[in-house]
């Protein structure tokens, strides 16, 4: 398969290490601090529509490709004008050699401008940013991994799947992909090619399970083996993540969620993107720096 980047190798190493505790891993796995975030002009190699309003962009960004870990993101300046003013964050979807891939949906002005960018143009990007997915305390070896993706939430989960499914064939990876309809289902083939088992859910029932992917997760649970060896990673819209957080609490398995949030600085300075987290009363954590990946159990869902 592809050569694994340094970032992914580090991720895997930490993934195999035992005795890491959730709180301790925060700075060891996936946090950009120390790994060095960069601001570079990245050349656009590909920018193509792969499904209605869904685009794949490939950028040449050697240093970021080397360091990026699953769950981290880059912050893209989409316009040289002040419309829009702020950068737009995108999860790293894949890393291949010196290239990074993004998967995005056109949802507003920023992504609309991005979708019109041509091959050969350059983009001012910051990255890799944020804390990615990590492995919680491995008292018993995790053998049963479930990835739950909603909509373009598949973006970061494919990078994660490529990191864990390729070299660890003994690991069972089940991927649940949800979308509104069959046209909007993304990356099913990519996950299958990695050897993952895949089930899909569509809200209108045009493919797979009819309903929400969070319901599909609950339905799959009794069949997916020993709960103590289970670990769930989820990325998608807030309602879906909230629901999956509830399922994880009810069935008592560890679950990490990657939040999507509008960001200003992207580096932890402005405190604009906070989410409520548990504390003695509660506290605020920065999605861009303390996340975007959080343990579902540490967040206060409202």
């Amino acid at each position: 398969m592809t050569l694994l980047s340094q970032g992914v190798q580090n991720f895997l190493e930490s993934f195999r290490k035992e005795g890491l505790h959730e709180t301790e891993t925060v700075d060891e796995v996936g946090n950009s601090r120390g790994a060095g975030m960069l601001q570079i002009d990245a050349k656009i190699l590909i920018n193509e529509e792969i499904a209605p309003e869904r685009y794949k962009m490939v950028l040449s960004a050697p240093q970021i490709a080397r360091q990026a870990r699953p769950g981290q993101f880059i912050h893209v300046k989409v316009s040289d004008s002040y419309t829009p003013l702020l950068r737009r964050p995108f999860s790293v979807h894949r890393v291949e050699g010196q290239k990074i891939e993004l998967l995005y949906k056109v949802v507003g002005k920023g992504t609309e401008i991005l979708s019109r960018k041509k091959r050969g143009e350059y983009l001012d990007i910051l990255g890799p940013l944020g804390k990615g997915y990590w492995l919680p305390a491995a008292t018993s070896r995790i053998s049963d991994i479930i990835l739950v993706a909603g909509g373009t939430g598949v973006a970061s989960l494919l990078f994660l799947a490529e990191s864990i499914a390729v070299p660890n064939s003994e690991l069972s990876v089940l991927v649940l992909i949800g979308a509104k309809n069959r046209e909007e289902l993304l990356c099913e083939g990519d996950f299958r090619r990695l050897g993952c088992r895949v089930q899909v859910a569509t809200e209108n029932g045009t493919r797979g399970y009819k309903g929400l992917v969070s319901d599909l997760l609950e339905k799959c649970l009794p069949l997916s083996g020993d709960g103590s060896k289970r670990l769930v990673f989820a990325c998608g819209p807030p309602e879906m993540l909230k629901r999956i957080g509830e399922v994880s609490r009810k069935h008592r398995f560890p679950c990490q969620v990657s939040l999507e949030e509008r960001l200003a600085c992207g580096v932890g300075a402005c405190l604009g993107c906070v989410v409520k987290a548990k504390g003695s009363t509660y506290t605020y954590k920065r999605v861009c720096k303390d996340g975007p990946v959080f343990s579902a159990g540490e967040l206060v869902w409202e």
Binding site: M37, K77, A264, Y284
Partner: protein, 316 residues
């Protein structure tokens, strides 16, 4: 043939209220965290000065999200002065910043004049170069209605009391949400301030028309970014005419051209705020751009540009 002597590099250094700056380009409070967030991306030692995120006596959680919304050429924020509190700032944040060779100006805010005094006293023994009194945070209302900087008497009272409590250079950050900012700046000067930071954010709001709800949880917030720049430049121009103490101009600066407008209007130094979010390299680009402008126009010293506005004949 007589060879033209090579032009000496322009002088960008300034003395700001008793603080020596290698160039007049600072980063504004609240947009640069405690420095560490940006240290990987730019060389902090190139900055004129760093103004840290506003510190209060006790840690503050800040406001409920959503805290930020993007608007036309600007952003509205209601962070709510989330900060670690003065003790944690001194113990955990200051040592990192002190590893750099860059002047530090610590922004402080309180809910009463006593709190400002206590903060100033606490910082007296620390290795910092100056204080910035944030009298203009839309999130702190001293009588539940007004910010300090909206009341000339309250402004005078706070500044004169802090003045007695510290020998550090004292800069006051004013609010643009007033009818006569020049008068309030004059109050600060009379009360013993060494400099004026102009301006903090404009109170504004944005509404989601589908839901009919405000875009910010706190309903209103502070508007910053290029949208406010022309008003900020005008306020610097007005204040420059009424006070002798130096002005630090800010409000939507992203390019060297933006910074030069403020300087020509009367600012001795400038600060990049929201521009840091747009481009972390903005302060460096502004410094380089100012230098290039000076070389191109054969300007030897930045100080000669401060307040150098050429008013058309017959203008007011």
């Amino acid at each position: 043939m007589i060879r033209k002597a090579k032009q000496k590099p322009p002088n960008l250094t300034i003395d700001l209220a008793g603080i020596s700056l290698r160039n007049p380009v600072m980063v504004a409070s609240g947009t640069f965290g405690y420095g560490e967030e940006y240290a990987e991306l730019i060389d902090l030692n190139r900055l004129g000065a760093i103004v840290t995120k506003t510190i209060t006596l006790k840690p503050r959680l800040g406001n409920e999200p959503p805290r930020i919304v993007e608007t036309a050429s600007g952003i509205l924020n209601s962070i709510g002065l989330q900060n670690v509190g003065i003790n944690a700032f001194i113990d955990e944040k200051l040592p990192f910043l002190r590893e750099y060779d860059v002047p530090l100006i610590v922004s402080i805010a309180g809910e009463t004049p006593d709190e400002y005094v206590e903060l100033a006293k606490t910082l007296r023994e620390e290795k910092i170069e100056g204080l910035e009194l944030n009298l203009s945070c839309p999130n702190i209302k001293y009588d539940r209605k007004l910010m300090f900087a909206q009341d000339p008497k309250a402004t005078h009272r706070v500044v004169s009391r802090v003045r007695k409590a510290t020998n550090l250079p004292l800069i006051v950050k004013l609010s643009p949400n007033v009818t006569d900012i020049a008068f309030i700046a004059k109050m600060c000067e009379e009360a013993g301030a060494d400099g004026i930071s102009l301006i903090n954010t404009f109170v504004g709001m944005a509404i989601d028309v589908e839901s009919g709800e405000p875009m910010l949880h706190q309903i209103t917030g502070g508007l910053s970014g290029p949208a406010i720049k022309p008003i900020a430049v005008r306020m610097v121009y007005e204040v420059h005419k009424s006070v002798e103490i130096p002005i630090i101009g800010m409000g939507g600066i992203i390019t060297a051209g933006d910074a030069l407008e403020f300087i020509i209007a009367g600012a001795k130094a400038v600060a990049i705020g929201t521009g840091n979010f747009v481009d972390p390299r903005a302060p460096i680009k502004v410094i380089d751009g100012i230098r290039e402008h000076m070389i191109k126009n054969k300007i030897k010293d930045i100080k000669s540009m401060v307040g150098s506005l050429k008013c058309p004949k017959g203008s007011l």
